[in-house]
Symmetry: C2
Subunit: 339 residues, 2 copies
């Protein structure tokens, strides 16, 4: 059957969340991928190795796709969006490398984390290299407003990571404080990724702020859903990679809600787990039960849906188009991952 | 029947939104009211007149009640909470006086605005006087951390008002940008009002940030519901004082949503109304129809409910008490005003 196009099937696929976006940016995304490959080249042998390890490990590349789609949607003609998209992905990859060092993570996307293979020092430094390359690519594009947005995002992300240190293992973190962390740590890059498209397309201020707002709220929803999925989501789907946040003592929204809604005994359990590190399989099982008992996962998903609604309305002033629909579909895709 | 306590009635009353809060702080509130009266005294005759006009005009005094309740809840013994509550109400009153000048409002709470009776100059200056008195009262209390919180709120509120100038009559304002305005303009004072209670009671950082977060999110919910009520709320209740925001060209969340969800023709209507000032009764009627057609009021209420949920969870680490229940009831009271 390969090579035969079935219209019905393809229509069904097109209704399936992220697929319309993938289709719309497929050609540009090939260019982004080869650019990424070429820019990880270095005479220092370890750099392409480490970078390749992470880049090959199969993320969805949602952020660069957002940049491509927002530029296309605004009628941008040229190649700068490809360069900026690669730059956005490099910024993201750099933070993953650094995060794993800070969090002392062993695994990343089901594979050994780079730091387990090449060590912490290499992970930190290759992250710096990628960040440097990201800046060089932005500079190549030569748009000062786009440079401003992306370089600002880089500092905000770093601030968010530092802020996160203060919430680590701190069960008294409020939802507001947690939102502040993920607004910097995750949403800032999504916002910048969506904003540079209309900027290089020369769009007006209203569309720039609309797409920025879309990215920001998509980022918040995305992170909250990730948090819910780390405990199996609403389905309680206990596949692999469940409980990473728990074992690392991360205080994410599901934990914040369950902790605040729990009784004294339950709070002692969370203290033992998150602060004292008693996070074995039995503890994880109990954590998942407590999250369910307090509706902490389903309410995390509801909170995410609120931001997804905001993101959808933010796109309201863009003319109707395939791209706009695709970006709206991504919101539903993002939230429904956890339902 | 007066003087006879009916347990059932009183229980019913206790379930009625804001009543439990009113009951709990009734004694302290009397002290706040006499303090307010005494602190508006001045040899400059116009000051007590203008202040009395506004103070008598019957607001709910929700902000000082929050300060009183949060201090009581934390077991505070003393009178500083009364002084701080009065100070919070003075800050609020000062911003109302200044707002009416900036917005060129004719009416305030169904009465002529102070500026219509004594002029803009007097409104600005009496506002400054009240702000000065608010600071003097905070200083009297002598708690530097409380002073820090309240004086910080004063600058944030002013920043929010300035920021609002940039969104005035700007239909391209995103929901994010609008939230930023009301976070400063409204929520900052609610947050400070709730935070100073635990501060003077010597509570730990967790309870201080929990109550701060409660106040912040209550403030957001409160303002969004006010915005919905200005168009009659979900009931479409067209009593008096409907349409003030509309006539003043204010871009509030209901308008933001309807504008973004509308077609070209509808957007032209909003431009004519908000930007060009065509805001007669017929236009108001059409605005209300468009808001309903796009679910803009009901979604504003849903958005408010999201913040009310956050506020409720923020109180989770406070021990169960009458005060905690009363503060939770206020959230429901606040949101259900518009349903």
């Amino acid at each position: 059957m390969s090579g035969v196009v079935l219209p019905l099937e393809s229509k069904k696929a097109a209704q399936n969340g992220i697929d319309p976006l993938i289709e719309l940016v497929a050609d540009d995304m090939k260019k982004v991928n080869s650019l990424i490959l070429s820019k990880t080249g270095s005479e220092v042998e370890m750099i392409p190795e480490v970078a390749k390890h992470l880049i090959d490990s199969g993320g969805k590349r949602l952020r660069p796709m957002i940049t491509l789609a927002s530029a296309q949607m605004c009628g941008y003609q040229g190649d700068a969006h490809v360069t900026l998209a690669a730059s956005v992905e490099f910024m993201h990859t750099a933070t993953l490398l650094h995060d794993d060092v800070v969090d002392e993570s062993d695994m990343r996307r089901g594979k050994l984390a780079a730091r387990m293979l090449w060590g912490n020092e290499a992970s930190v430094l290759v992250g710096d290299f990628l960040l440097g390359q990201a800046f060089r690519m932005m500079v190549e594009v030569g748009s000062l407003p786009a440079l401003d947005v992306l370089s600002h995002a880089a500092t905000v992300i770093a601030e968010g990571e530092v802020l996160q240190l203060s919430t680590a293992k701190n069960l008294e973190t409020t939802e507001d404080e947690y939102l502040e962390v993920i607004r910097s740590k995750t949403a800032a890059l999504f916002a910048a990724a969506a904003e540079v498209g209309p900027i290089i397309a020369g769009e007006n201020a209203s569309r720039i702020s609309g797409l920025r707002s879309y990215g920001n709220n998509l980022g918040l929803a995305f992170q909250l859903i990730d948090d819910a999925l780390d405990y199996g989501g609403n389905k309680g789907d206990l596949g692999k990679n469940i409980g990473d946040d728990f074992r690392e003592g991360k205080v994410t929204l599901p934990v914040i809600l369950a902790y605040r809604r729990g009784n004294e005994e339950e709070r002692r359990f969370w203290q033992d787990a998150i602060v004292e590190g008693k996070t074995g399989d039995e503890a994880l099982q109990k954590a998942i039960e407590l999250l369910a008992a307090h509706g902490a996962i389903s309410d995390t998903v509801s909170r995410a849906r609120h931001y997804a609604e905001m993101a959808k309305d933010a796109l309201g002033t863009m003319p109707e188009s395939e791209h706009r629909s695709a970006l709206v579909d991504v919101l539903e895709f993002c939230v429904s991952r956890a339902v």
